[in-house]
């Protein structure tokens, strides 16, 4: 409540927040180049890059990663990071499927949001109150979740009713519903960062926690808020995966490597790992870039492990280019 009284020093930070999002341009340029390369390779291979199945495939594959990556962006912008999202996604897929089988869809969504928000609160409080480094705090929480998952489940559990599976497979024209969900979450996060006091505070805290604190920002609350939001997106992604699988699975999050992959996508999108610079638009570009790369590999039937090798190289190369640009400025 008292926060309402002190937004003054932060007004000045808004334009900086806009300027700080400029790396997004680089990733969209790279995405454009990647799409052209993809188009050429597809044509060479006798496929159609802009064919409906490929376009839909790219969107569908990227939706779950995209949703978590948006949440991860918020945590990283505030100078934190969340390694627990992958296990949380698995947990949420199970909570969703088991609750749905027993009580129906709406209670299940409520349960997932509750579980994920609580996990975010725990992450946030361990980081801000117990002053544990975010890396260790979220690693610890993911170990805790991992233990619970392995103790309780041997394999897929629960069942998702047909009505909810629409979320995973339906589409409106060429746009899958899952991509719309991703778009909505990304737009909400973009609005939050650009047009709300909390968004400006996130940039301020990530840029310099000490300066933010001295200008009257309750830095702890901001970090906790970003972790709650980040966990909520992991919960939403867990719902999506459950809808797609028709059940909950204890390894669905970790098999997808969503923890490190979401951080990679955020950083690929130009958001600084140290916090304070970047934005959601870049993250969307980063996720799409990874998805286009994937679709090219699929078309050319390149071994899935070669994908990891190329991904690693792309990641390091992209960051090296960002670092050069930053020094040049």
């Amino acid at each position: 409540m008292t926060q309402q009284l002190q937004p003054l020093p932060l007004k000045g930070l808004a334009p900086r927040g806009v300027a700080a999002d400029s790396p997004a341009r680089a990733v969209f340029m790279a995405l454009g180049v990647m799409i052209m390369i993809g188009w050429a390779l597809f044509a060479f291979d006798g496929g159609q890059f802009f064919g409906q199945s490929n376009i839909v495939g790219i969107q569908q594959r990227s939706a779950a990663l995209g949703i978590v990556a948006v949440g991860q962006t918020l945590a990283i912008l505030a100078g934190s990071l969340d390694l627990s999202v992958a296990f949380l996604m698995s947990l949420c897929s199970l909570v969703a499927a088991e609750t749905m089988a027993q009580y129906g869809v709406l209670p299940a969504i409520g349960a997932v949001l509750l579980v994920s928000a609580l996990t975010g609160l725990v992450n946030g409080f361990v980081i801000t109150r117990l002053k544990v480094h975010a890396f260790i705090a979220t690693l610890g929480v993911s170990l805790i979740i991992k233990g619970i998952l392995e103790h309780r489940y041997d394999g897929p559990a629960g069942r998702v009713p047909e009505s909810f599976q629409h979320l995973g497979y339906d589409r409106v024209g060429p746009v899958p519903v899952s991509a719309l969900l991703w778009l909505a979450i990304a737009a909400a996060a973009w609005f939050l960062l650009r047009h709300t006091p909390l968004g400006h505070r996130i940039y301020a805290v990530g840029g310099s926690p000490e300066v933010a604190r001295l200008s009257g920002v309750r830095t702890g609350r901001v970090v906790v808020a970003t972790h709650v939001l980040c966990s909520l997106t992991a919960g939403a992604a867990g719902l999506l995966l459950a809808a797609r699988l028709g059940a909950g699975a204890p390894t669905v999050g970790t098999d997808g490597g969503y923890d490190l992959e979401s951080i990679a996508a955020v950083v690929l999108g130009g958001t600084a790992l140290a916090g304070g610079k970047g934005g959601v638009a870049g993250t969307v570009g980063g996720v799409l870039l990874l998805a286009v790369l994937d679709s090219v590999f699929n078309q050319l039937e390149i071994d899935s492990f070669a994908k990891d090798v190329v991904r690693g190289v792309v990641l390091v190369a992209a960051l090296a280019i960002y670092a050069r640009r930053r020094r040049a400025q």
Partner: protein, 313 residues
Amino acid sequence: MRRDLPLFGVLAVLLVAIAIANPLFLEPEGLLAFVKRAAPLAILAAGQYFVIVSGEFDLSVGSLVTAEVVIAARLIDGDSDATWPVVLLLLAFGALIGLVNGLATTVLKVPSFIVTLGMLLILSGAVFLWTGGSPRGALSEEFRQFGRGSLGPVPWSVLVLVAAVAAVITLMRSDFGRTLMAAGDNPLAAGLSGVRVLRVKTTAFVLSGLSAAVCAVLLGGFAGVSAKVGEGLEFQAITAVVLGGVVLGGGRGSAVAAIAGTFTLQALFTLLNLYGISGALEYTVQGLILVIAVALGNVRFPRRIRSSASTTA
């Protein structure tokens, strides 16, 4: 050193609890077996310590260990004559990967989190690409001696660990150690006062790569060849180092405590096993202990402020 006392206290309590549950633990053989099991991770943690104290991360060590073991099996292929050349090659490969990590971090100015994450992807992808998921070849008996065999009553891996600890202590007391600590604490100030920050940090990554190679030799002998042998080791090593009171972000913490952190972790696993909390819930307990231990390490009791300020300033 006084800062590390709580850790050694926890370790002592855990060891006593193990001894109560299993009196055989107090026999020399029991103790040596315990140290032997902890040795690979302890060596890996020592390497990770250099990187963390210089203010960086090395997430690639787990996949590097896997790559080393898979390469060793493929190249040795049961031929005992190949043992020593391959061991040398493994050390060189570890150092090379560390060098690449270090140069990408310092010269290209990419955050080490991303560099080593990229290296993790590259190495694990390359290993699977090369092996198709099931490693071929076999380690020679000579190679396996490091992990399994012993010299008289003392396992080789314990001797390797003792040598590694001695080397780490010597290194940290040398000029290199002091400049490394300074570079991690405040790279700008260190650079202005004449420390070659880039070189020192790169060396830290090379040492981490080397330690992963040594860890792989011990682990390959102990656990055998699989494409999963190094899985999750990077997080365990970081956990051990942080348990030892080394601060993420650099500049603070002792190497001996980091290695003691490994023993604490190992003692915890042993104890959980003895009391039947094995398998899945082990992770939950590990996570809880990790968070609680690090949180307790951050509590500054009024009397300790002065002493810790004077030792780390």
